[in-house]
Symmetry: C2
Subunit: 329 residues, 2 copies
């Protein structure tokens, strides 16, 4: 009866201002559409949700517009430390990597951790060694280096040093920059339901600009930035990571459904607008349940997102939509 697929992706949430020139938003819409299409190609040929979310996140990691893989932000040492995770709703199997520096597609390593390491979570040098064992593709530092992200690091350092502003404050945008998300919220993610009703989630990030080396955000933390359980939903989060960890945001949605009998839409809305907001957390989630319902609530001014349901066109959006649409998508 419900043998159709559904998939959603996001490219981060934050203080995003509509540009004067909407043409400059085009590359973002195009990249989101490409990620959705990569996942859909798998689902439409009967493939698994797990494969689809990995394919979609790889596209977003490979695109320098988003803060994951190529295009990752710099930490306080002007280095890249990337986190990623994946979860399979059929079995609750999960894999995550934290603070990896040389992995071309961290989400691919997260999957290898899930399938071959005997662990759920591997960090730092140990994760790199495991990647070498599994012949996971690496890339040199210059692959991850982008001028845009280095400029961001320099700006946030100036703001922090000159004006004495708290790092947690919203970063001032550089004049002329068309789209200025608060880069600290940058993450990419995907959730999917395949035709068999299996759910899966995947997440990847470069973390936050100027972050303390060794800082682990919510992205590789099962329950916080990611969760997937066929009995409830597949969830991928993006936002102020520490708040998502403290509220166990992703699993909070699943638990509201499992124990409180809430619908996906109500559960996700409550998690983002009530529980997370109560401790000043900002960001959003994308989620799909086993009926193929898709929701993408966020409490910031924008969240890069794309979605598709079998038989419908691919949709993409950046800014807020009326509340009635939020429950639909």
């Amino acid at each position: 009866m419900h043998d159709f697929y559904a998939l959603a992706v996001h490219g981060g949430a934050g203080t995003i201002s509509p540009s004067v020139d909407t043409q400059s938003e085009t590359p973002y819409h195009k990249a989101l559409r490409q990620a959705v299409a990569a996942g859909e190609a798998i689902l439409s040929s009967g493939g698994a949700a797990l494969d689809a979310v990995i394919a979609a996140v790889c596209e977003l990691e490979n695109c320098p517009l988003f803060n994951a893989g190529r295009g990752s932000v710099y930490n306080a040492d002007a280095m890249h430390e990337m986190d990623a995770s994946v979860m399979d709703g059929r079995t609750l199997a999960a894999g995550a990597v934290a603070a990896v520096r040389t992995i071309r597609n961290p989400v691919v390593l997260a999957r290898a951790v899930m399938e071959h390491s005997g662990c759920v979570m591997l960090a730092g040098e140990g994760a790199e060694r495991f990647a070498h064992e599994r012949s996971i593709e690496t890339a040199p530092p210059e692959y991850f280096a982008t001028k845009q992200r280095l400029d961001q690091l320099m700006r946030i350092r100036q703001v922090a040093a000159g004006a004495g502003l708290d790092h947690d404050d919203t970063i001032t945008s550089k004049p002329g920059e068309p789209i200025d998300p608060d880069r600290k919220f940058g993450t990419v993610g995907a959730v999917a339901r395949d035709r068999l009703g299996n759910l899966a989630s995947a997440v990847s990030t470069g973390g936050m600009t100027n972050k303390r080396p060794g800082r682990i955000g919510d992205s590789p933390v099962v329950g916080a930035g990611i969760y997937a359980d066929n009995r409830s939903a597949a969830i991928a989060a993006t936002g102020t990571g520490e708040h998502f960890i403290r509220t166990v945001a992703a699993y909070d949605i699943a638990a509201r459904m499992l124990y409180g009998g809430e619908s996906l839409a109500t559960a996700a809305h409550s998690a983002v607008f009530e529980r997370l907001a109560a401790i000043s957390g900002r960001g959003g989630v994308i989620a799909v349940d086993n009926m193929g319902n898709l929701v993408m609530p966020f409490n910031t001014s924008g969240m890069y997102r794309g979605w598709v349901r079998e038989g419908e066109d691919i949709g993409t959006a950046i800014f807020s939509v009326p509340p009635s649409s939020i429950s639909r998508y």
Copy 2:
């Protein structure tokens, strides 16, 4: 009305066999009692749950009998990599460290992360650097080195190499060893309710013997190995870490109470005997709610534990007790 305190500690769960000579269990009971007493000294003088759980866990970290701080197990590189976390039920503030090597009391560093880093979770070298910034006490490698743990590493390597056994299987005990927990389950933890009704949890571990370097278990993962929320309960878990991560075991108990209206006893029992057991997870939790109810369910043959409630004597136990007692304590 409920202005009394309650505190529980654990020193790990696993395949523990009653010794022929019960005298050899004495040091464990003594150490558990000492940890409870350290926490109680704070609570009985009107101190905070947060201070009490840190004090109790420091005692357990300082005792070489338990797998945390001094007495931590060795990883596959014959090194120590320790994890710890703390959470404050008043504010949902949390702090965690993963894979630290030189910190005398990792739980003290976890508290510093919570209070001074702007992060929730710091790993590896970055965590060590933060410790240096905060002048947190370190210790040389020989402080953490114990012959007993090195012997365990050698035995598990022999078992793994010689018999081709899976590392996940229970380790064979050495003849003559009085108490032989499956060391992979070794963790210490404490939960408390103070006279003001505030809840807090703390956890610390050396991880599992022969673990893959960089492996992060449930102990520093908020929601999995630890949670505390004044509205529900303070929880500290111990067991097969990966299963606790996948089921978000600690927060699962809080969520059952919050969204399902379950009592602490029912919620903790379901989390350990149903949800965790469904994916073959083994271990237990200690938990206290804001009424001062204490529960300590475990699905292994033993769990080192100690507890006290204001006006009552300190209790300690290692093996199973009748179910009626489990719901009381």
